[in-house]
């Protein structure tokens, strides 16, 4: 992981709309999918069995949408320095993430400042989440409190 941990909570006044605040890439493997299945309790076999995935018309095993959603917020959490600063987080699952048995998939996250509400001390952070340059999450937004 390439996330950079800041020394303290980011200050709202110092931010500008459109500014990139965090950027990271995650190597998703089949092992990561099995780990997420166990941790979340989502044992849908399309997330670990190619034969089952193919039987329902998929190209192969897919990552859990909730795993992609869960990791995509982490660069923002590292930037904030506290997971409790996330007030609201939403995504649309626009494209499935196909995880190859050997090479896996690399999920790239870029987090930018969407809007700033100085009075409330809240920023909307917009996430661009891609695999091989293709967007996999739409309308991925978090509202966060800042110092």
């Amino acid at each position: 992981m390439t996330a950079i941990t800041p020394p303290s909570t980011p200050v709202l006044e110092s931010l500008e709309t459109g500014e990139i605040v965090a950027e990271s890439s995650f190597a998703l493997t089949r092992d990561a999918l099995v780990r997420y299945a166990g941790a979340s309790g989502d044992f849908n076999p399309i997330h670990y069995r190619d034969d089952v995935a193919e039987a329902v018309g998929l190209p192969g095993v897919l990552a859990h949408g909730m795993l992609t959603m869960g990791l995509a917020i982490q660069p923002v959490v590292d930037w904030l320095g506290d997971p409790g600063r996330v007030l609201d987080y939403q995504v649309r699952f626009t494209r499935p993430v196909h995880v190859e048995p050997d090479f896996g998939a690399v999920v790239t996250v870029i987090a930018k400042v969407g809007t700033l509400d100085v009075e409330a001390g809240v920023a909307r952070i917009d996430l661009t989440v891609t695999v091989n340059g293709v967007t996999v999450l739409g309308k991925a937004q978090a509202r966060v409190t800042l110092a």
Partner: protein
């Protein structure tokens, strides 16, 4: 609906699974230093609590939902406060809307999660797309 007791090791396990490396997710001392009673769950951990209520909806014969045809469309979490190990949470599910779109059905379900005092913690909203016959 039985309550869900958030365990410290479950929070750590879930954190590792979503690549959450912040000490506040893993180390009770770091969490206490940040003002929390124990380790803090990643934002999407709420899905574990919500899942039990969604499973109820999908298992409801009257809902007529075929699990193998369900695709996750949208997901949202709106927090009053983060989930912390030791929380005893209760989720209540309500179906907000059901829409038909070109043979598919879109079901929006909202789970309201409260703590043992009855105070709101998080509302998890899911839109599930139920694919119609091909």
């Amino acid at each position: 609906m039985p309550s869900y007791l958030v365990g410290r090791e479950k929070v750590r396990e879930f954190s590792a699974a979503v690549f959450a490396t912040n000490p506040i997710n893993h180390d009770p001392e770091a969490a206490r230093a940040a003002g929390y009673a124990d380790v803090v769950a990643p934002p999407t951990f709420a899905v574990v609590v919500q899942e039990a209520t969604l499973a109820q909806l999908l298992a409801e014969p009257d809902a007529g939902i075929d699990f193998t045809r369900v695709v996750h469309g949208d997901q949202r979490f709106a927090f009053s406060r983060p989930i912390v190990a030791g929380d005893e949470l209760t989720a209540t599910l309500s179906v907000v809307s059901v829409k038909s779109l070109g043979g598919h059905s879109m079901v929006t379900a909202e789970s309201t999660v409260v703590d043992s005092n009855g105070d709101h913690v998080v509302t998890a909203t899911s839109t599930l797309v139920v694919r119609g016959d091909e």
